[in-house]
């Protein structure tokens, strides 16, 4: 049986997960500077430990919500810094670490590029994100 450790978090569209080994750290979103010329899901640039990172709003990238919502609206939001990337993901809240056995994961149907797999959770679905697709240059 093979299982991978994931970091799970929430956006307006529901629960999502990324492999824990791709996570460098999590931080509260503080100051954000809008980034001219970037696709809509890029909310801007934030400094995390002095390093400027491109902030990708997961809700917008997945098509769950529009960029009309202010990036820091509805209370504090969290940044997840992706290991080895100049990017951080902007999410509503972090749930924690979870082991998800492979047999619970269903491959995402074709055409859902940024989602690698789905996990049924009662009447809801947790989405495992494909970070490569999500952060591919210019597509988000």
């Amino acid at each position: 049986m093979s299982e991978t450790r994931f970091l799970t978090f929430r956006t307006r569209g529901g629960r999502c997960a990324i492999p824990l080994d791709r996570v460098r750290e999590a931080a509260r979103l503080r100051v954000l500077a809008p980034l001219p010329g970037a696709p809509p899901a890029y909310r801007g640039v934030a400094l995390v430990r002095g390093e400027p990172l491109g902030v990708v709003d997961v809700g917008i990238a997945l098509g769950d919500e529009s960029s009309a919502r202010p990036p820091d609206g509805d209370g504090p939001r969290m940044l997840i810094v992706v290991e080895g990337e100049p990017h951080a993901l902007l999410v509503d809240a972090i749930d924690g670490f979870e082991l998800i056995p492979e047999e619970r994961q269903t491959p995402a149907p074709p055409g859902t590029g940024r989602v690698a797999g789905l996990v049924a959770e009662g009447d809801r679905t947790l989405r495992i994100l494909d970070l490569g697709q999500l952060l591919a240059r210019g597509t988000t």
Partner: protein, 681 residues
């Protein structure tokens, strides 16, 4: 190439000695901690000693000191046997380790005294090997059974498993402590928990745990409790709760066998002799240096905020004496902050010969591998550049040197026929030019034939049938997909293009140019900024967003009256000296910011000027001039090409820094922007 010891070898030796000295000192203190434990040394101390000796082996081997590498290897094997419980780490074993370390210190001293490659005494190597074979007494009952939680069991390394069994065998109480830490401060909490665990007993390992809430993160510490603390106490000290213990009852009587015997005294062996220290330098972790630079940046920001506040407050202060005093005091502060900034930045600077000596060595080896006679010389090695820049420039420079040796310099016979000296010449000169540093790599080889480059570009499709010949054919060398290597060589490989060099340099905000003369040789010039710069910028706001413009490109700023603005050739322009000469462009619209208000006459205007280009940017407001530390943005972030970096600004905000040249190109209607600067003849 001559075989005598070269300047770079002498430098390497010096670097080795400084490093070895630090490692021996740390190993010495770890050994004292090991021996203080008598027949039952602290596993943490054994581990620490093992790591230091392992590093010493590495640095010795790297500079070709085979004797030191061999002795360190044998000592490392003994220490590994100690830490994994394969050999007896008792007083006899400890004495052998000490003899090994003393011998290593003596070998390092011999290197310091000028010996080329001092060798260890074979009897010492035998003694270390023998000590590694002294097996610990066998347990009659075999390893104790510890009902470790199954998910933890699957995560244990061999070492952790060994320490777990060893502590269990000694009857020590084991505790798995769960920590639930707030996400934004968890690293501090974890560090503190780990330090407490190490004080209260032995910290065997750290594992992920389950967080208790949406904004916390979970960890688990596996700890063998010391004789004076119960598992529950250990958990409390670490700031967590007890998840598992062994044995299950927490009320086991204290374990007397775990008490340490008194450390042995009056040892006959001499204290470890350290080589005499190198004076005048101190090794500092890069992160401390970066912290200092960041703090100096914050100081400059605070100074900027004070300056802005003073500018506003001073004119309305009626007390002339106080006004004068404030201005004078601020002048002092201003100079001191500038000096601190420069001093902090200078701690990141290293002489460039740390880089060039590596290149020098590689160039010599390459020439031998290629069977060519080449003299390689470096000038200006004492020029100072940013440490991270020195690290990142290695690859592009090596690429160019490789090309010069492989493709530039001809074989000796061919050179003779051409009337040249049979020995080729390659020189690398380094020079500071303002805030930039210039690397010039020159060879006297066969040169690059522009007609060959053009023909090759056409055959590869780099130039399409409809494309005209560029005025500077050599710039084609830096285009992706262009390679002139007609054959595959072991040195230059399959001719990976110079485009890689150009893109490496672009990432460092640098550029490369080439000129060449057929039959006479080629010159490659690399120009990079000397360091991450502290920059004087004019802060402007567009809506809620702040942007920073380099003051060197700001001609003036203005709040124009309606009559100052006129239409000229269909464009809104700012009148200057009665002429409608400066085109006005809304900065928000130019950058494509959403909700940008294109009210050309209403905001403030910043007139940018670079070369013959001049344009006025309309912004919501002008905030003033401050000094900021610019952090460049990664090349892979999608953005408008005018955006270069980000900087913290007074008041805790963040501004994006803009490139004046790119802004002007777009604002003056150049439309197509110049490609990233790669090649000019």
């Amino acid at each position: 190439m001559s075989p005598r010891p070269t300047r770079d070898e002498a430098r390497l030796r010096r670097e080795f000695l400084a490093e070895a000295e630090t490692l021996l000192e740390a190993a010495g203190s770890a050994l004292e901690a090991v021996r203080a434990g008598g027949d039952d040394p602290s596993p943490e101390a054994v581990n620490r000693l093992f790591r230091e000796v392992h590093s010493l082996k590495g640095v010795g081997a790297m500079v070709g000191l085979t004797g030191i590498a061999q002795a360190a290897h044998q000592l490392e094997a003994l220490l590994d046997a100690f830490r994994m419980g394969r050999a007896r780490a008792d007083a006899t074993g400890g004495a052998a380790a000490r003899a090994g370390l003393t011998a290593l210190a003596a070998l390092v001293s011999a290197v310091a005294a000028g010996e080329a490659d001092p060798q260890p005494d074979p009897a010492l190597l035998d003694r270390l090997a023998e000590a590694a074979l002294r097996q610990p007494p066998k347990e009659p009952s075999g390893p104790p059974s510890l009902d470790v939680p199954p998910d933890l069991d699957s995560l244990l390394t061999d070492y952790e498993r060994h320490r777990l069994a060893e502590n269990g065998r000694r009857g020590r109480r084991l505790a798995l402590v769960a920590l639930d830490l707030p996400l934004d401060t968890f690293d501090d909490g974890l560090r503190k928990g780990m330090a407490e665990a190490a004080t209260a007993g032995e910290l065997i390992g750290t594992f992920p745990g389950v967080p208790g809430g949406p904004s916390t993160i979970g960890f688990r510490l596996l700890v063998a409790a010391g004789p004076s603390a119960s598992p529950a106490e250990v958990a409390a000290r670490c700031g967590g709760h007890l998840e598992w213990t062994h044995p299950p009852e927490a009320r086991t009587p204290p374990d007397r066998t775990a008490e340490r015997p008194a450390p042995p005294r009056g040892d006959a062996e001499a204290a470890i002799a350290l080589p005499s220290p190198t004076r005048g330098t101190v090794r500092v972790a890069m992160e401390k240096v970066e912290r200092l630079v960041d703090l100096a940046g914050e100081l400059a920001l605070a100074r900027g905020a004070v300056a802005l506040a003073l500018e506003r407050a001073l004119p309305s202060t009626s007390d002339r004496a106080a006004r004068y005093e404030l201005q004078r005091a601020f002048g002092h502060l201003d100079r001191a902050v500038t000096a601190v900034g420069k001093a902090a930045l200078s701690t990141r600077l290293v002489p460039v010969d740390q880089l060039t000596s590596r290149l020098d060595r590689t160039a010599r080896q390459l020439a031998i591998a290629l069977g060519k006679q080449v003299s390689f010389q470096v000038f200006g090695g004492d020029t100072e550049i940013d440490k991270t820049l020195a690290d990142d420039l290695g690859d592009p420079l090596l690429h160019l040197i490789r090309n010069a040796l492989d493709h530039g310099i001809e074989p000796a016979a061919e050179r003779r026929e051409a009337g040249k000296s049979p020995e080729g010449r390659v020189t690398l000169s380094v020079a500071a030019r303002g805030r930039e540093v210039v690397f010039t790599l020159e060879d006297d080889g066969r040169g690059i034939d522009p007609s060959f480059i053009l023909a090759h570009a056409r055959s590869l499709g780099v130039l399409g049938p409809g494309d005209a010949d560029p005025p500077d054919p050599l710039s084609l060398l830096f285009r992706p997909g262009f390679s002139t290597a007609a054959r595959v060589s072991s040195v230059s490989g399959r001719g990976v293009g110079l485009d890689v060099v150009a893109s490496n340099l672009a990432a460092l905000k640098g550029r490369v140019a080439v000129r060449s003369e057929k039959g006479r040789g080629s010159v490659f010039e690399i120009v990079v900024p000397m360091t991450l710069v502290q920059l004087d910028v004019l802060l402007v706001r567009v809506g809620d967003a702040s942007f920073a413009l380099p003051t060197t490109s700001v001609a003036r700023s203005a709040e124009p009256r309606p009559e100052d603005v006129a239409l000229h050739d269909g464009r809104t322009c700012l009148r200057e000296e009665g002429q409608a000469s400066v085109p006005l462009v809304d900065l928000g619209t130019l950058l494509g910011l959403p909700n940008a208000a294109p009210a050309a006459a209403e905001g403030a205007v910043v007139v940018l000027e670079e070369g013959s280009l001049r344009a006025g940017l309309v912004v919501s407001s002008i905030e003033g001039t401050v000094e900021v530390l610019v952090k460049p943005l990664s090349e892979s972030l999608p953005r408008a090409r005018e955006v270069t970096g980000a900087a913290e600004i007074p008041g805790g905000g963040l501004a994006l820094t803009l490139d004046a040249g790119a802004l002007l190109a777009r604002a003056t209607g150049g439309g197509a922007f110049p490609l990233p600067e790669t090649a000019t003849a």
